[in-house]
């Protein structure tokens, strides 16, 4: 394996789902990379292709409905995982790369004891005996902060609370010390106090084992906590990406502006109405020719409807795809990011 700095590099990823209505282009040319030991957040609203991107990296896009298009590249340690054979896939999934899903209740097998669901992983990848795996499963449960792990390993998922189930999912994901962890909205189904605890666990484990993390979320509060880099996705494309500070303090894309303005703030004293983004994302059965955000964008111009903008580079890896940054476009001031407006 190469000693490249980048553990993961995704180039021009395109994923489609074939449905009765036609081909849904869920991901339309997404490129990003992730450095070893770092965390990247992919943010965007529901249906923007975040989860499909995550599943592609995990190798969970299944035919005949799902299809990763020709020309897409997912380089793990410099090797394209899309060309893996069956055996390589089996050691990659779970061993090199692990995933934590959003809904822990649905993601755990209801008829299998929790301990066994962790043990499976250990037996498959670390070739442990049953007894060793059981001890290790108990250790993992203790590590993610589950009290009385000796008793808990013998229980079923329905006997756990929501937060505890998500801890089990994390225990399963971390069981084989993966190099890459994908968290697909791990805290969306949890209440706020538990969200914080779960994020703390993920961050601690990440620091301890040096795992690289892709955090998929629609919650910008989660991002600030955990990630160094952010990619903002909209309608199956990345519209802006860069370092966390750059995205939060000097965002360049109108969609990112709107996204940040729609986060509730505690530091605003006036009675203000939370800003929302009107409209809905475009239909991915027939994606627009131009910028996908044009129908909802306050600054939309003629060119936006006709042609997709290229990335403009702002330095330090910060890029945004918007016609406003073209030299011929009118200068637009960044709006007040604190959001809210008086009624």
């Amino acid at each position: 394996m190469g000693e490249t700095k980048k553990i993961l590099e995704v180039k021009n990823l395109r994923v489609s789902y074939h449905t009765y209505a036609g081909e849904v282009k869920s991901v339309r040319g997404v490129s990003f990379s992730l450095e070893r030991g770092k965390a990247l957040a992919i943010v965007g609203e529901s249906g923007c292709g975040k989860s499909v991107t995550a599943k592609s990296v995990m190798g969970l896009i299944k035919g005949p409905q799902g299809e990763i298009k020709e020309g897409s590249e997912i380089l793990y340690n410099g090797e394209n995982i899309l060309h893996y054979d069956k055996k390589q896939w089996q050691s990659y999934k779970g061993g090199e790369c692990a995933i934590v899903f959003q809904d822990a209740l649905a993601s755990l097998n209801p008829t299998m004891r929790v301990g066994k669901q962790i043990m499976e992983n250990l037996i498959a990848h670390k070739h442990m005996s049953k007894e060793e795996a059981k001890q290790e499963a108990i250790n993992m449960l203790r590590l993610v902060g589950i009290p009385e792990p000796e008793k808990r390993v013998r229980q079923y998922p329905h006997e756990f609370s929501g937060g505890m189930r998500q801890r089990v999912m994390i225990a399963i994901a971390f069981a084989c010390d993966p190099k890459l962890l994908i968290c697909d909205e791990p805290t969306t189904a949890l209440d706020v106090t538990i969200q914080g605890q779960i994020l703390d666990i993920i961050r601690d484990l990440q620091k301890k084992s040096g795992t690289s993390v892709i955090m998929i979320t629609h919650d910008l509060g989660v991002v600030a906590n955990i990630a160094q880099d952010i990619a903002v996705m909209y309608s199956g494309m990345i519209v802006e990406k860069g370092k966390c500070e750059d995205i939060f303090y000097t965002p360049r894309h109108p969609y990112t502006w709107a996204l940040i303005r729609s986060v509730p703030r505690l530091d605003l004293k006036n009675k203000q109405v939370l800003d929302t983004i009107p409209g809905t994302p475009p239909d991915l059965l027939n994606p627009p020719a131009g910028c996908p955000f044009c129908t909802r964008c306050k600054y939309c111009m003629q060119i936006c409807r006709e042609e997709m903008p290229e990335f403009t580079d702002f330095g330090n890896g910060h890029v945004a795809a918007c016609w406003l940054h073209h030299e011929m476009a009118p200068k637009v001031e960044m709006p007040d990011l604190r959001g809210g407006h008086h009624q």
Binding site: G94, T111, E120
Partner: protein, 318 residues
């Protein structure tokens, strides 16, 4: 747990009482009586003796009370049509025949059905899948009567591989005489194959799309392990509901198959008894079948607890 069983037992008694009462009055509501056909041509005196012997001279409500009282003691009385034939004797002589046939059909049918169901689900969207589905629809649409006669004509009539009719008896009642059982078993097993193949396939396709299967795949487990440990077990829950009902049904015999192959089973006798208005036999068999179903349903409820840990026994402490 104890209280639950007692409650279920009392419910069972009530159900049996209601079924017996309904059966009694429904049969009474049919015009004529079991003896009229034979007795009409006899002199009045002989007729009266005959009616007296079977108690048919008494008013309906009185006979109802007598019947229920005897039934509570386990005595269903003698057949109105065949002198000396009782429900107990019938069960002793004929139930084993029907049971063997039913069990053979079920073992073969359910096994093949489940295997085909798994095949269709795993190979979804391929020729194998479509073949299984088409085959199931075809088999479930052909009545036993037609299918049985067809098999009889081809394999017994034309090819002479198996005897046309008959059934092993005596020492071979439960084991042996296989060549007689092949055609009747085949005739009946196809409906099981069709039912279980479709049931398991539907259930598996539902489970395949569950998130926990995705989790299992993300662990890098082998395909075989995912199917066995994660998909199959969860797919079996609906099968678990159907299976005990099939067991109850298979023991009670099939009128058509037993008629076509001249098998001395209980299913054929039951239908004949209804035609003859043979009150005591019909009543006895109905109550016994009902009992069988209730017991089987109770076992199903217990089995759920075994298969699905999310269901716990009422009254059991955590």
């Amino acid at each position: 747990m104890g209280r639950y069983i007692v409650r279920r037992f009392l419910e069972m008694l009530l159900t049996l009482f209601l079924i017996a009462t309904a059966t009694f009055f429904l049969l009474e509501a049919v015009p004529g009586d079991p003896l009229s056909q034979r007795a009409d041509k006899l002199p009045v005196q002989s007729r009266e003796v005959m009616y007296k012997r079977y108690g048919l001279d008494k008013p309906v409500m009185e006979r109802y009370l007598i019947t229920m009282k005897n039934m509570a003691k386990g005595d269903f009385g003698e057949s109105f049509v065949y002198a000396g034939q009782t429900v107990g004797g019938l069960i002793h002589d004929r139930l084993p025949v029907s049971a063997r046939l039913g069990i053979q059909q079920m073992l073969l049918g359910v096994t093949v059905g489940l295997l085909l169901g798994i095949l269709a689900a795993i190979k979804r969207g391929t020729i194998a899948d479509y073949t299984v589905v088409a085959f199931s629809v075809l088999l479930i649409s052909i009545p036993h009567l037609i299918f049985g006669l067809m098999l009889q004509k081809i394999f017994a009539g034309n090819l002479r591989w198996f005897p046309t009719i008959g059934w092993p008896s005596g020492d071979e009642l439960w084991f042996g005489g296989w060549k007689y059982t092949v055609l009747p078993t085949l005739t009946g097993c196809f409906s099981y194959i069709a039912t279980y193949a479709r049931l398991l396939k539907t259930s598996m396709l539902d489970v395949v799309n569950q998130d926990y299967v995705l989790t299992a795949e993300s662990k890098g487990l082998s395909r075989g392990r995912i199917i066995r440990k994660h998909i199959l077990r969860n797919s079996f829950i609906p099968v678990m509901t159907q299976l005990p009902m099939s067991v109850a049904m298979c023991i009670t015999g099939s009128f058509f198959i037993e008629s076509i192959f001249a098998i001395p089973g209980i299913g054929q006798y039951y239908v004949t008894a209804v035609n003859n208005q043979d009150l005591s036999i019909v009543l006895g068999e109905t109550v016994l079948l009902a009992l069988l179903y209730i017991v089987v349903l109770f076992i199903t409820d217990l089995l759920y607890v075994v298969v699905d840990p999310r269901i716990s026994m009422p009254g059991r402490k955590k």
